[in-house]
Every structure is written in C-alpha cells, then in structure tokens.
C-alpha cells in the first residue's frame, strides 16, 4: 500500500469518525429534546396519550412508543412536528427550533434502515 493511499484512507477514516462523533452528539441532543418536548406524550410506559393513540392506530403492527420504532423516516418526523396529527398540535420555532428538529429527527431515525436516505435529511 503506498503512502498516499494510506494517507487518503486515514483521512477518510478520520472524517468518518468525526462525522460519526458529530452525529452522536446530535443524537444525544435529539434525545434530550425528545425527552423534554415529546416524551411527555410519546414516552414508553402507561398513561402516555401519544403512545396510547399510536398503539390503538397500529393495533400491534408497529410499536406505540416512537423510540421503539425502526421504520421512521426524517420526512415523517419533520412533517408531524410542524403539522401535527389528530389532536397533537404542531410546534412553533420558539419551542422546537429547526436545529432541535434536526436533532430529534436524527435521534428518532437512528434505528431505521436506509442509511442512503439518512444522508439526505437536510431541509
């Protein structure tokens, strides 16, 4: 392996690891924003109106708790936060900023497949 190639590989790995670290930080922030703004309705456990509603809607075909979903797409998360769904209202930017929404999205789609689609989550 020539030196140039090794340098290129090293750079790619560094950059991938930096991207991974950034994504990790975003997900961590997304988790925090989710717990503050969303988990009070959509958390796991009894009594959560959003989780109860989604459980009733999907009748076991999909988990009621959003954090247990593996099929969420960035588009769906963004749409529901800014457009609401049934009795769930939409959220203003003084509540959930665009950066917060990016982080929530990154957090909720973390277990979804299709990494190619995830690379295109920008607005």
């Amino acid at each position: 392996m020539n030196r140039v190639f090794r340098v290129v590989i090293a750079c790619v790995m560094l950059s991938a690891s930096a991207a991974y670290a950034q994504s990790d930080a975003t997900r961590q922030k997304g988790n925090e924003v989710f717990q503050y703004w969303c988990a009070t309705c959509h958390g796991r456990g009894a009594g959560m109106p959003g989780t109860i509603a989604l459980t009733a809607k999907y009748k076991g075909a999909l988990p009621g708790a959003l954090e247990d979903r593996t099929d969420l797409t960035p588009q769906a998360v963004r749409f529901v936060v800014r457009n609401g769904a049934a009795i769930m209202p939409f959220f203003r930017k003084t509540e959930v900023s665009d950066a917060d929404l990016d982080a929530i999205t990154e957090y909720l789609v973390r277990r979804s497949p299709q990494p190619g689609e995830r690379a295109n989550t920008g607005r």
Binding site: Y36, T40, C41, G45, A46, G47, M48, P49, G50, I52, A53, A56, K57, R82, G84, A86, I87, M88, P89, F90, F91, R92, K93, T94, E95
Partner: protein, 540 residues
Amino acid sequence: MVLPPNVSEADFSAALGEFRSAVGADWVFSSDADVALYRDSYSIYWGEPEERVASAAVAPATVEEVQQVVRIANKYRIPLYPISTGRNLTYGGSAPTLRGSLVVDLKRMNRILAVDEKRHFALVEPGVSYFDLYNHIRERNLEVMLDVPDPGWGSPVGNSLDHGVGYTTAPFRDHFGSHCGMEVVTAEGEIIRTGTGAVPNSDNWQDFHYGAGPTIDGLFAQSNFGIVTKMGFWLMPMPEAYLTGTVTVPRYQDFDPLIHEVSYWEDLGLIGMPDYGSPIGGGFFAPPPAALAALMASGWPSIDALERFVGVEARPAWSVRLHFYGPEETVRANWQAAKRRFSGAIPGAAFQDGEFLRLPIPPEQEPTLPDKPRLGIPSLEVFAMVARNPSTANDPADGHADFFAMIPRKASAVWEAARVMFETYREMDTPAPYNPFSTPINYYSRCFIMAAVVPTWRDPARNSRSRELFARIMDRCAERGWGCYRTAPAFQDQLARTYSFNNNALLRFREKLKDSIDPNGILSPGRYGIWPASMRNTRA
C-alpha cells in the same frame, strides 16, 4: 400573507423591519410556513375564512424588547396578540382573537426569577412552563408544591391570566387567585408593577398582593389592557402526606346532604378538589348503562322514579373521593372525622380507604402514579381522554371546545344543568352524554361546573354543527342564568353578551377603560368581547 386590518402592505413591511431591529431578525416570523405554526390547531373554524390567523409573529426576549414592540405597533397601528407558552388549547391556542394580528410570542422570556421555600412563592416570566417550574423545584429539592392544570406544558402566567385551575386546596387551585404581584407593559409601552412591587426597593412583592389603593391586577386577566411580563404565585408548602378516601351514599336524594357536607370540608380548606361520581350513572361522559338508558327512554325521569331505580339497582347513587394534604397525623385524623360527620349526616354512608402517600414523591415512583396533577406533578396524560384510544378509536376528534356552565353548589342545580345539557344536545340530534346521575366538576371551590366538551374537526361541515351546538349550549345556559368562565375567541363576543346585566353595563365599562388605556386599540382587539372604539361599530 394575511395583513392586519387597515394596514397597508408597505407599512406592514416597514413595521416588520423595525421589529427585526428590535428583537433580531431570527425572532420575527413572517413566512407563510412559520406563521402557520401560530394557528389554533383546535380551531372550530379551521380552514375557513373566519379562522383567526396571525399576520406574523415576533418573539422578544426581554421586557425592554416588549416595550419596543409595543411602541412600533402604536406607530403603525398594528394589533398585537401576546401569548405566553401558546398552549391554551381549547381556548384559542396561540392564535389571535382578531384575524391579522401580530402574535407577540413570549416563549423566550423563560426565566424563573425566584422560588422561595420559606415564604412559599415563585416569581416567573411568561415563557416558563409548569414542567420547567416543577423541574426547577425538584432539582433543588425545594419544599414547595405546585398546583398544576391538567396539561403541564402551559405557563403559570398564561394559565392564571385565563383563569385556569388545578386540583389541590382551594387557595391554590384558583391560579389567578393565588397570584401575588405582576409586572405589566402597558399599551403605551410603560412598565407597571402591581401590589408592593410598586414601592421602589420593596423586598416583599410576592408577600403582599394589595399594596395600597385600588388593585388593578384583574384588569390583565381575560382581557387586553397590558402585556404581563412577570408574575408571582403563592405556593403550597410541601405537605408531608397525601391521603384519599371515598364516601358513597345510598339514595338519589342523598346528593344534596353529600354536597353540603363536602362543602364543609372544602370551605374549611381541609381538602383538595372533591371528585364526585355515581356508581350507577356510568361515569363522566360515559354512555348510561342499559337499564338507565331504558328508564330515560320515555323522558327525563322524576325524582321518585330515580329513587325507585336506585333501590332496584341496589348500588350507591353517589360517591365522592376526598383528598387530604398535610402532616400524616392530621390527614389520618381528618379522614376519621370525615367518616364520623358523613355518617351522622347521611344514613347509610359508606367509606373506602384510598391511597396514602408520603411527600414529596420519589422521582422513580412518579411515572406510575395516577392523578399526577393532584400531587402537583405536571403531565400531559389528560390528553389520553381525547386522543385516539380504545373508546374513541372509531372516530377521534381533531380537537375540542369546552363549555363550562358555572352553577350553584347544590343538587337541584346539578340535576337541572344535566337536563339542560341533555335537552340541548337532543335538539341538535346529537348523542347527549348526560343523565340524571351526571356529576359536576369543582375546580373553583365555591362553584360547580357542568361541562360540555364539543369536538372540533379539520372538516368545515362537522365544525359547522359543532359551532351550532356550542353556541346553543351557551345560550341555553345563559337563559337559565348560568355564565361560563372561559372560552375560545370564536365565542368570546357571544360570551360577553351573556354578562349583560343592566344593558351591558359591565362590557360598556370595560370599553371605556379600553379607550382610555389603549387609545390606538393595539392590544388583543376583541379579546373577551372588548373591542377598541374604532372596531366596535363594525361589530354587532
């Protein structure tokens, strides 16, 4: 884009520029997508020309920025509509009363300025939510208990300014009644502090609410006379214990002595909000059991018929759950004393011991607790009642509009109110969730509420029927002499007209104040029926 009434596009554009200079470009929202986030998602006019939508929104971070916003609005005659956390769902949410108003979104003013665990008060800005204040208290282990409304994302400031309510003892669950001191930016951009906050260098703003002279705090609730930027609240010291117990009484006509005895405990300040029910009636808004439905098939039954029905059912006619807060010795002693007094007043009264909890609740115990608001713990669990759930799964509504008829605390009024509601729904050919065992809500300790929850939709045809039902309920109750304590902008003019004693003297007095305090009519025109002079003549 929707423009404010009588404001040119050029002036509006110039004003937006000045708002951007005042608060920063990031905090003025004027794109269609951003302004749409200020719609009322439970609007009963959703998607129709009458829907009250904003022209733009501005989000100041300081009281000085609020003053600048007010001055710019006066210059261009732009109607403002301040909101706190904007979560007043069912009562208008973050949408204005007047279409085209500019929303002043105070969510960024989110400082908790003081929580005093010795003198038992808090001082907060409008953007602070009940969740925020609760977290602040818990993280510091402060020995105070909040009184929270059902949804915890609201603002103590905004909730109390719309006369919101909670669940603990009478002095605290009246949220406006438990406030102490406010800071207000007037329509002319001046800052007022009420109560002892008006004494320069005062150190007891949250200890004494009157100050001296006429109190004006009430002018800033359900109104449009100023923008409240700080507000103090009296808090309950954290009680050592919480104990519940349920009383049941056997006969239909035991309801009146039951209420009378509960009122003894309530008005001594010894219990939280009593929770009335009926083992026979099927519960709040539930359809009546089959036997009761059969009894009602030939009309509203007489009291004698109901008494016979209760006898055949051989179950208690009424129940009430009581909630005691205080030291362990006294809550246990109070429940014992309650058993003695109820037994003496009502032959056949029976008792069931409920929960006993030591307070504060350990954090790990919180998630599984039912009735969190009764323990001062904010939550959103109440939405499970109206969200898609096993009982609404066929047709969950998109929102709801609530009508609360304020009725006297006596059995005959409860029975009459249930019947008025029942007949009004029937006139509209709508299933009526009322029967002779319907029970009142007791948010305000001295008054009962007979509630109506009318669904709202994203469908104009269904909303049209909901509007007709809601308006009819309001009229029927007003004919009977019952007001309502709070409503969404869509019904605020109608509500104001129901308080019409002596040729609307009360509303006319408020209008005189409006003209004097807000001569350009820039603050929340139309809120609770108060329009500035320039808009009054165009409205019936």
